[in-house]
């Protein structure tokens, strides 16, 4: 491994850091696994780190034992919608990753797609509708228009959320009503987008001082074709290729699109950009994650390893940079 060994030792010389994991989102279990893993990696890199599961004692604990900086390994709303980041900004606690304002934008998949499309990044046609629209206008008429204009197959996702929870591919129009009901159980707004049959990749973007750069992309090949919750978290159900099996030109376009999405959404330190490479080689933006999974089966650690970086040392460096940044004035969302 090259890169950050010295930085880890430097971080250890300062105050301990805190890793926030757990929380109340549907991704609680995954978050706890991420948190435990990153704490171990930080320890191995010589950085003293404590795991905290945020609850109503969090602010008092951060006040009593002020960390040098916080790593947010919370997935789902608490970690990614900007709310907790806003509270940390109010409390003057530095943290790694996108600001509260930028997180809020990225957290909402339709908003992130709109901004990326406006910046010239390809993304599948979509519509995002709250349940109230269907209740008011009647589902049949609206669903007919969706099928007519966007076409089948469709991909349905909760407008906010991760780990593919609630996401479903719908190939047949008659399956659409039940799929919508299932998706609305996770969020009050559903993103309905044209399904692109291509190669699914995840690109980790990091900024460790010299501007954002893409790490080797991970190509995701689920054994039975769908990268759903089970395929993500059951080892052996998905084969990962890092770097992705793409030609040089396609890889270059892919990396550029990921970095541009990171910049367009004003992200910071790290992000994971999920992309489908269409059959013609076009990168199609799906969504971005400001608090990527860090478990044994998560995609970002694969990219970090493929780049010959040490996850613990890299994270320690980001924590140190966040601590430095805290001297600057921040804006609360």
């Amino acid at each position: 491994m090259t890169g950050y060994a010295a930085t880890g030792a430097e971080a250890a010389a300062g105050r301990p850091v805190v890793v926030l994991a757990g929380g109340l989102s549907y991704e609680r279990d995954i978050s706890l696994r991420s948190g435990r893993r990153i704490v171990a990696a930080l320890h191995a890199a010589g950085c003293e780190a404590t795991l905290l599961d945020p609850d109503d004692t969090l602010l008092a604990r951060l006040d009593a034992d002020r960390p040098a900086a916080v790593l947010i390994a919370l997935h789902g709303a608490a970690g990614e919608d900007g709310a907790l980041r806003g509270v940390l900004e109010l409390a003057g606690v530095p943290y790694v990753g996108a600001s509260a304002a930028a997180s809020r934008i990225s957290w909402d998949k339709p908003t992130a797609k709109a901004l990326c499309r406006a910046a010239g990044i390809g993304t599948a046609d979509w519509v995002a509708l709250p349940d109230t629209t269907f209740r008011e206008l009647g589902a049949a008429a609206v669903l007919d228009r969706i099928v007519e204009r966007i076409g089948l197959p469709l991909m349905l996702k909760p407008a906010q959320g991760g780990s593919a929870l609630g996401a479903i591919r719908v190939a047949d129009a008659e399956d659409l009503p039940a799929a919508m009901v299932g998706c609305f159980a996770y969020a009050s707004t559903v993103l309905i987008e044209r399904y692109i049959d291509g190669i699914e990749v995840a690109v980790t973007v990091i900024d460790d001082g010299d501007g954002p750069r893409a790490l080797p992309a991970v190509e995701i090949a689920p054994n039975d074709g769908v990268f759903d919750y089970a395929a993500r978290y059951t080892q052996g159900m998905t084969t990962y290729h890092t770097p992705a099996r793409l030609d040089a030109t396609t890889t270059e376009r892919l990396m550029a699109a990921a970095v541009r999405a990171h910049e367009t959404l004003a992200l910071r330190d790290l992000s994971r950009v999920d992309i489908i490479v269409a059959p013609d080689g076009t990168p199609v933006f799906l969504e971005v994650n400001v608090s990527p999974g860090l478990t044994d089966t998560s995609l970002m650690p694969m990219s970090v390893a493929a780049a010959s970086l040490d996850l613990g040392a890299l994270t320690a460096r980001m924590l140190r940079d966040a601590a430095r940044r805290s001297q600057q004035v921040s804006t609360v969302d």
Partner: protein, 435 residues
Amino acid sequence: MSGDSLDPYVDLYAGRARGLIVSEIRALFAVANRPEVVSLAGGAPYVSALPLDEVAAIVGELIAEHGAQALQYGSGQGDPVLRERICDVMAVEGVRGTPDDVLVTVGSQQALDLLARLFIDPGDVVIAEGPTYVGALGAFAAAQADVVHVPLDDNGLQPEALREALGRLAASGRRAKLLYTVPNFHNPAGVTLAASRRQEVVELAQRYGVLVVEDNPYGLLGFDHEPLPALHSLAGGRNVAYLGSFSKTFAAGLRVGWVLAPPAVREKLVLLTEAQILCPPALTQLAVVRYLEAMAWQEQIKVFREAYRERRDAMLDALDALMPRGCRWTRPGGGFYVWLTAPDGVDTKLMQPRAIGQRVAYVPGTGFYADGSGRDAMRLAYCFPPPAEIREGVRRLAAVLEDERELAATFHRAGTARSDGRQTHRGEVPGPAIP
């Protein structure tokens, strides 16, 4: 580059391991364990009702006075004194057996696993109530059984439906090997097999040569009347493996259960359990012996019974007052569970994230079927939360059901077809983690 599946052993696993996948349900239950969520999901007994100081004293004395025995290996069949005491406990419900025919197990879950290993080859048929206990489904799935469900009603297993199922199987050249049943205060349905049906069930099993697995963890926790005759008693001990447990009448954490089986079966079960665990834990077995001999265990059961009755009443009162139209539920006379059928169009599995979002948890009905049925139902457990929390949980659940009913109606008008999408078709069973 060949890629990395993250599991270098994937080609080594047995075929029966194919179903071992991580499910969304587990992710949701990870949230349900937080104190902000009222969990009507898990069937954890209310062990705080025990006189814990007294239990601590007898366990302390056990180590001090009999440590050399309590911390040593023991008999594979189980401690002989405990087996005598188990016969005393069974006698309260009229079940007669000798200590020689009792095998002590690590909870009755191990007994289920042993019976499945002993009797089931891949593809063999097990008949079970629909719905049935999720832990039994797990044991049968591990043995690659083909589970055929027979419906329940408010009086338990329907003998006519059982007769039809047995006849249908016989006509197709197949024979069920086991009939698995929870006759008293059923998990998950809360119903009890009526006295008038019991003899017929026993006779049908005997006629078709099916071994009855009678699982009776809740029999002593009836609120309203004396225990009904066990199938084991009605059958004169022939053709029935009777499973009992101290998990609900004493302490689930001790993991002490038993099986009373016909001698030939018991002999093989002992050999199997020795291969599996050598012997059940001596410490917890002797703790149960001390508890049964030194403490007023029958009085303690009355304490448990009253605690569960109060909780049952809280749940039924809240359901009566708050549930939206179109819901139906069972009215248990004992045990831990109510089985609720949701209004038309509501899919309880799809609804679960919405419920967790509103800080209330239940187990979707699909967990209690081997064939994906149960989408219209859910299990509600009243055993653990205090009555005020039960009422709050039901209040939250009623609001979620009402909202889901409206949403489902909105979309069902657009088409009644059900999705066969990936949200639903991996056949996720919550597993024995949810007793």
